[in-house]
Amino acid sequence: MWSGNLKTAIGSLRQRRWRTIFTMLGIVIGISSVVTVVSLGYGLKHQIVGQINQLGSNVLTVRPGKVINNQGGISSLNLYSFLAPSTLTSNDVNSVRHLGPVGSVAPIEFVTNVASGDNGELDNVFVAGTSSNLFDLLHQNINYGTPFSEDDTDQNFAVIGSDIAAKLFGVLNPVGSTVHIDGQDFIVHGVLAPSSGGLLSIAQADYNTSVFIPTAAADSLTSNHANVLQMLVRIRPQADINQAAARIRSTIAHNHGGTVDFSVLKQDELLGVTDQVLSKITNFISALAAISLLVGGIGIMNIMLVSVSERTREIGIRKAIGATNRQILNQFLVEGLALSIGGGIIGIGISYLINLMLRLYSSWHPVISIPILILAAGVSVGTGIIFSIAPALQAARKNPIDALRGE
């Protein structure tokens, strides 16, 4: 019965080839955009989680703003904290550095996004001031040269990402060349190993497109108004991480006159925050993409309604020779499903293509996982059923004699 219906459905869809293609297109676009968005979010999460795990469990992250709301025992993400200018200062960095349980501190102070070299100027560079132990904290290897040492802090040295090296100097190893940042010259001291788009928990900025300069230089460039985006703190092995977190919190609060306008996050909290941010963003964009799916579904419904009224006579004949309402319903349901599932399969194919393109030509690393595929399959089946049930019911409920008469 079902195979017969499928044969009939495919026959009738092939009959109206262009109409079928354009109807499917709606579903193809919907499914491929949802799959792509979800896989991008998933890939991004994968990268960031990997990076956070790489930090190790004895690293605390201090961030400006109160990232997590704790109301009534339920912790939720405070998105406003990402909008405000940083509340952390280099003074906070210095006071944390001298605390007992703290092993090492690496701040990330955003300086500018413009840097120039032998090959001209780039405006998508993440120029940040940091201390030399950042690379150690992040487990980030240096391919050429060495990181600047603590003794070099008063000198203008820079460690640059591999993409920057290629773009500004056109060579793999530009150690000794000069980078110009905000009118000052920095000598390239090291080049970071290419990383698989490790993000500094801040969208778009990855090691490959970063330039790191000593904090002293950053402070002088920004006349001590550097934006401290975050501070990584490694705790001494013997120290208790919760006590250390409490001490860091009270120290910075003391600096801020008692206001806790920052967050001290442990690794698991950081994971939670990242997860929440990405889920929110992904859900939001997926909802936008789902609108195209809705439009595609309405397209299916539209075409099925046209098809039903065009085939009134066929329905009449089928009923006259003994088709039950149920069998007519099934016939049209299968036709709608064939449209949406066909569209879904093509959509998944296209999202694999987009995935490949993104991996080849951008720094994104989308991951199409099994749950995404199951979701896509479920959505296309669901769309098919939801949007063809009304036309199919209309077909099934037609009065046989009226249907036989009607053209």
Binding site: G11, G316, K319, A320, G322, T324, N325, R326, I401, R405
Partner: protein, 292 residues
């Protein structure tokens, strides 16, 4: 016992003062093996009667017993099953599905029975052999002549070994040669013991029937047993007489008009210069057909 038992079956269309009485308390009993020809002018209720017997339509009043079971008010699914297993339809315009080839068209009722593709193809092939269409199995309907299409349609009607064949003007769209082939085929089916109900306008075709019904305004006005091969007596009269409008018909028409639209009944008088000719084409072929 009779195969078909209609008892005071009425069918009303529309409502309010637009109600049409398509069938007016028709009682009819058809025994197994009869070949019944139904004649009558357009709008006399022939097709409505066939639709009710064929379970495509429900009577407004009255009872319908098919093969000993009351079927008039059965649920739709059960009626569909009865149509599939008990009744074969042959239509004036063949009603083959244009996208299916002859074999698939003939096998379609078996599909709804849930038979496997191989078995139904074999069955359909056998039936097509019977109607002399074996060599056209894989033709599409548009590649067939009218006579061939109608033979395929008869094969489809026969495939479930129905107890009644309902043929609504099966030769209405065919030339005389094809008509003859199709009627001989129906006669052969009748000889095998099938019950056939044939709606026709052509009195010649009553030669094939064993019984002729005459309908007029929703009632059966004549019921005549005839010998096969002989044209029915009344049919012969209809054959040679053209229908004529009598004075009383005109009077009835005028009084009906005055009742329905008192203001307009006298309107043609005001425009005497123009004969009310424009009204005639309004009764187009299509409107005419749908009314039947």
């Amino acid at each position: 016992m009779a195969l078909i038992e209609l008892d005071e079956v009425s069918k009303l269309y529309g409502f309010g003062d637009a109600t049409t009485l398509a069938l007016d308390e028709v009682s009819l009993s058809v025994a197994k093996g009869e070949f019944v020809a139904v004649m009558g002018p357009s709008g006399s209720g022939k097709t409505t009667l066939m639709n009710i017997i064929g379970l495509l339509d429900r009577p407004s009043h009255g009872s319908y017993i098919l093969g000993g079971k009351q079927v008039a008010h059965q649920p739709a699914a059960q009626q569909a099953r009865l149509r599939r297993d008990q009744i074969g339809f042959v239509f004036q315009f063949y009603n083959l599905l244009p996208r299916l080839n002859v074999l698939d068209n003939v096998a379609l009722p078996l599909t709804y029975k849930g038979m496997t593709p191989v078995r139904r193809a074999k069955r359909a092939s056998d039936i097509l052999e019977l109607v002399g269409m074996r060599d056209r199995e894989y033709f599409m309907p548009y590649q067939l002549s009218g006579g061939q299409a109608q033979r395929a349609a008869i094969a489809r009607a026969l495939i479930n070994k129905p107890s009644i064949i309902i043929a609504d003007e099966p030769t209405g769209n065919l030339d005389s040669r094809d008509s003859r082939v199709v009627m001989e085929l129906l006669a052969e089916v009748h000889r095998q013991g099938n019950t056939i109900l044939l709606v026709t306008h052509n009195p010649e075709l009553t030669r094939y029937a064993s019984r002729v019904l005459y309908m007029y305004d929703g009632t059966i006005v004549g019921d005549e047993q005839t010998a096969i091969g002989q044209m029915a007596r009344h049919a012969r009269r209809i054959f040679f007489r053209k229908p004529r409008t009598t004075d009383s018909d005109i009077a009835a028409g005028v009084s009906a008009m005055m009742r329905d639209m008192p203001g307009k009944a006298l309107a043609p008088k005001a425009k005497r210069g123009r004969p009310p000719k424009a009204k005639k084409p309004a009764r187009s072929r299509k409107a005419y057909r749908t009314k039947r």
